[in-house]
Amino acid sequence: MNHRKTRDNNLNANDYFRQDVHVPPSSGYIAISLTIALILNFLPLPENILLFRPDFVAITIIYWGINHPHKMGMSIAFGMGLMMDVGNTTILGQHALAYCIAIYLTLILGRRLRIFNLMQQAPQIGLILLVMQTVIILVAVLGGAHLPGWQYLFATATGILLWAPISLLLSTPLKQKSDLNAL
């Protein structure tokens, strides 16, 4: 007889049920988080640190796209992309296009991503961020710029690393505080 416990290393029902129940965020909360992300994106930084700055707006948009897709639509992503374009003196529509494609991928893969925990989500989010950066590079090359070096993709890497902390940060105010004295 096989006494070895069959350890199912893949996801099982426990992982799914262990998810926290979150209070649905109000539109104001989403708006505030997007505004803070935009401010962080405009923050002036020294040249060498700027290389490692992730795209906060993209991460926030993907987070809301996964967890609350009915609140975060493609039009909001388009608007945020336009604001990023004007703030960064890039071609108008470059970031807008990239964010729309990122939201589209999130909407398609969103349900699948929700059952993973944060550390497992990060590489998949990284893939979406990579596609987004490729779109940005393509549009820029279309406008006649030279291809940047591979250091440009550092932003994707830091985005992957910061995904878990930012997700926690965004979801902490939404956790339902359980009443310890309740029956």
Binding site: L45, M83, G87, N88
Partner: protein
Amino acid sequence: METTPQFFRHGPGPFARLLVFVFLSCLLIAEDLRFKYFPELRQTIGAVIFPLQKIAYIPTHIYDQIEESIASFYLLEENIKFRQQYLEDREQLLKLRALEAENTQLRKLLGAVQQIETNTQAKAVLAEILQTPRDPFSHKITLNKGGYHNIQLGQAVIDDKGIVGQITRLYPWSSEVTLLTDKNHSVPVQVLRNSLRSVVSGTGKNDELELRYLSVNIDIQQGDLLITSGIGGVYPPGIPVATVLRIERDPTDDFAQIISVPIAGVDRNRQVLILSLVQPVPDDPLEMPKIESQKN
């Protein structure tokens, strides 16, 4: 209740929405790259995000103020140094005025065409480079003076070493400068050593300018200084632009490949001068002798 999720979502599916927005984005990209029909669109969005940029700039302000208060210990020495520098520059300026007068006199004697009136008393506006995140693909920087401060499109921007670029976009409180290294930007220059006139254009790479359409056996050397020639009326003459870095003369090519490095820098905390617009060159060459006889 507001929190009830929609189970049956009406409206177009995600792919249809993506197509609509992709089409819209491509329209905007094409419009921004080629046609530039709606500059007001950028202005309105710029006005919307202006408070956010202001907020984002607060930490840098605080850092600058702390830096200044620490550096104020050395203010006395700096003051002495600047006074000395000012006196030396003043002496050079006086010499320049004398040379200018002598130059016009000599030109008149030779009957040469009257040169563009050089504005040594041109009004210049001091501006600071806003350290907004620069896209690695666009060669543009943002200054903290805009339409509100009477800045106009096309004004040349210089720093203490040389030409930085030209103002190409105006917002109410800031303006965008296209750098020398932008692909669509050219400056008419002349070599200081032998007055060879040419045009230096940006290549799209940082710190690289190229001199196009010069034949292979042209008299130019590594280390030559290029200054503006004033032709074209955009940049006032005599301001340093770049130094020649390397020259590749391939006898099989028609033209030499000359790469030069711009002199000005665009680091942080740079203050730049926005020069007032140069008087345009009088178009009709037949008018020239008339001006001369009037002056006489």
